[in-house]
């Protein structure tokens, strides 16, 4: 009975809990999205672009003592093939499709390929791909154009995923002004790792994006700052590993949270976090939705 206290509403989407699968994690196939949707509030598919894109050579994802570093390079089968794959999605949680492109019109053209999407997330923040991702997301004017074009192309909610490698509030404001329904904060931080025996960078792309527990305080601060300045909902992301992290993000101002790197530990993560959140609301007796922004006085 306490499970209903976990329910949230995000931009008109009813979610059974505030947990979303972060883009780029286990999101390339409908089979895994369907499996993970059982206990998730929503799932975000891997970023897709118009054309097929190879991505970088392995190693593309490595684990280190406090999280992961990845430079997958936005590998994608392209819009047509990926839409075909996602049409097989059978989960009951909303499916959000993450898009990347190199200019506003291309972003807008992508939305019509994905009728199965409940919302769109704009990847304005991938730190390791040329001409897309952060290359777009570091320019407030370009972000404004992209969000405006995409919002014009679809009736569905549009989320802008922001980077911590630039001024997150400035970009967040540009997205809000252009009509974004929510912002996602934050994408990965730039980072790298060197093999000290081989004396070489480990990732084939030399550097990549750092995710996982180490980046959580940075993400919480970004959510905090955005909550002070923006009036649209904020989706928190960055290092969520325990139920306490979810509560912390929500108190900082996040309506929902995305979880990614933690799947390194188990693919039953949503289930275990959900059970913990149920225990939490049983203790507080409060709806989870009511703690959003609670730390701001």
């Amino acid at each position: 009975m306490y499970e209903r206290l976990l329910r949230i509403e995000l931009c008109g989407m009813k979610m059974k809990n505030p947990m979303m699968l972060a883009s780029g994690i286990l999101g390339s196939y409908a089979s895994s999205l369907t499996r993970l949707s059982e206990h998730a509030g929503a799932v975000v598919a891997k970023s897709v672009g118009m054309e097929e894109r190879e991505g970088y050579a392995n190693p593309t994802v490595i684990n280190y003592s406090h999280g992961l570093i990845n430079a997958v390079g936005l590998a994608s089968p392209g819009a047509v093939k990926f839409a075909e794959e996602l049409s097989k999605y059978e989960g009951d949680a909303p499916l959000i499709v993450s898009l990347f492109a190199s200019e506003p019109q291309e972003f807008a053209a992508l939305t019509s390929y994905f009728p199965m999407a409940s919302a769109f997330e704009l990847n304005l923040s991938c730190p390791h791909a040329e001409k897309v991702g952060l290359a777009i997301g570091s320019d407030p004017e370009l972000v404004y154009e992209v969000v405006r074009e995409v919002a014009k192309s679809t009736q569905k909610p549009v989320f802008a995923k922001l980077s911590p490698n630039v001024d997150v509030v400035e970009i967040g404001k540009a997205a809000e002004e252009a009509g974004a329904d929510a912002v996602v904060a934050i994408n990965t931080l730039k980072g790298m790792k060197i093999d000290i025996v081989a004396r070489k960078p480990i990732l084939s792309n030399v550097s990549g994006g750092v995710s996982g527990e180490a980046m959580k305080p940075i993400a919480v601060k970004a959510v905090w700052d955005l909550y002070e300045e923006l009036s649209i909902p904020i989706i928190g992301a960055g290092g969520v590993t325990s139920w306490k992290d979810i509560v912390e993000f929500m108190m900082a101002g996040a309506t929902a949270v995305q979880i990614g790197s933690a799947f390194y530990y188990s693919n039953r993560y949503f289930y275990s976090l959900k059970e913990s959140l149920i225990a939490y609301v049983r203790w507080t007796g409060e709806r989870l939705e009511d703690i959003v922004g609670a730390a701001h006085s």
Binding site: L26, G27, S32, P59, V72, V197
Partner: protein
């Protein structure tokens, strides 16, 4: 992630080598490592013992690996994945081609447990047969008839009474795994049969989603070893 030195290399044939590392990995048969040949790619490889991998040259990285100079450092992540479950009774191994690699490790492990192992081993030709002398009981098939029965490992399987075995362990190309699964299902042996499944893998640690099966399970984390009743094929 750490580095290991290539200590010794056994060249079994033109295309297959076993590479021994400077240190043993705390590992179980069926587990794999992500091996990074610096300057080339990082690839998943089944362990053929706690300190070796047995590799067939199929791509650029494996081609370089089969003749890698001793003393070279390679990057290693792992061991990862769910291993085979052991038995101390009668075990049947079904290997196709380089699928023998994890079964060599498993053979050592099960023999130490007191199990009795019988191997059915199919390859394209006799020069692709490796580590045969490590097994007590072996039946061989080759597609060109250069050794053993002319045919595939599935032909060898026909003569076996599968219910005699406590466990059946299978490793090889996916087409072969699928056919073996059909056969063991007919005998009601799918819960006692374990398959080492191969999929295109990137991260090896359950996050990238490249290797998921039809039911969303991850080959690198829930696998690579699956029981027959867990596969939706």
């Amino acid at each position: 992630m750490f580095s290991l030195k290539v200590e010794e290399i056994i060249r079994h044939s033109e295309t297959i080598s076993t590479i021994f590392f400077s240190g043993k990995l705390r590992s179980y048969p069926g587990q794999f490592i992500m091996l990074n040949v610096f300057g080339l790619e990082e690839i998943p490889l089944s362990l053929s013992s706690p300190d070796s991998v047995t590799v067939k040259a199929v791509g650029e990285t494996t081609k370089a690996l089969i003749s890698i100079p001793t003393g070279t450092f390679v990057g290693v992540r792992g061991p990862f994945g769910r291993p085979f479950s052991p038995t101390n009774k009668k075990a049947l191994f079904v290997a196709g081609g380089i699928g023998i690699a994890p079964l060599v490790f498993l053979n050592d492990f099960l023999t130490a447990c007191g199990a009795k192992v019988r191997l059915l081993y199919g390859a394209k030709s006799s020069d692709e047969l490796v580590w045969v002398d490590r097994f007590d009981e072996v039946r061989i098939s080759t597609e060109d008839g250069s050794e053993g029965l002319k045919g595939t490992v599935l032909d060898l399987l026909k003569d076996e009474n599968l219910r005699d075995y406590d466990r059946i362990y299978v490793c090889g190309p996916e087409a072969m795994l699928r056919k073996v699964l059909e056969i063991v299902k007919k005998e009601g042996m799918e819960k006692r049969t374990e398959f080492s499944v191969e999929r295109m893998m990137k991260c090896g640690i359950g996050v990238c989603g490249s290797c998921v099966l039809e039911d969303g399970l991850r080959v690198c984390a829930e696998g690579p070893v699956f029981r027959g009743d867990e596969l939706l094929w």
